[in-house]
Symmetry: none
Subunit: 120 residues, 2 copies
Amino acid sequence: MVKQLSERLDATFAALADPTRRGMLATLAHGEATVSDLAAPYEMSLAAASKHVKKLENAGLVSREVKGRTHICRLDATVLREAHEWTERYQKFWAGRLDALEAALKTASLEKKLENLDNE
Amino acid sequence: MVKQLSERLDATFAALADPTRRGMLATLAHGEATVSDLAAPYEMSLAAASKHVKKLENAGLVSREVKGRTHICRLDATVLREAHEWTERYQKFWAGRLDALEAALKTASLEKKLENLDNE
DNA sequence: TCAATTGTCAACCATTTGGTTAAATATAAA
DNA sequence: TTTATATTTAACCAAATGGTTGACAATTGA
């Protein structure tokens, strides 16, 4: 059952809305890590950390390979890319507004110049 | 009271993790809108929509100007830019750009240092 | 075989979230 | 002034979240 984009964004943004989970992703940016590795920096129980990893996995941000009794986790940035693209649209919108502002200012100064020309 | 980057990311990502709120931002990308305007596309009560707007505002994604009995809302992409930059670091990692990965790790450790400084 | 390690699962708890309805507030219009 | 409009607030509810502890399963090492 493949989730729709909107639902994937829900899960991705929700997964990112927690400093522990963002920290785990930062750890994974260095390379693969076990659940214990990911849990190590935090004071919470392993069970709690395990839930965070599961949430990252459910969002599709992390993939897991069970190897013996350890679970090897890796960063999977596919859904993260969707989140990045979502925010990018609004960034571009904002940049566009700023461009429009620049354009407005340019037009204003151009008008002034034209007026000055008329006065010459 | 200015929030730390980490807390701003918490609030921003949490605000984005809901389709109603993302829809409201999409509406605001067309231009300013009142709370009623933002609520219109949804079946929920105005009170419920009002809470969503408040959450967007608290995250800093939306600014509000009270004008008579209406509240005019506008998109404020400042914190969105932070979220965009955060996802960008990991998205670049996924794209296999090792130089970007280095930069991401540097930024991450710098971020930690800055936050540690703030905590002292 | 027995003990330690890795991790999940179940049950529980407090807090947050996202919704409701009803009442309150403030402004605008008649 | 009275009424209608725009919005928030309060009280409430069910479900989700983020944590705990304790038991369990699987694997590894002694």
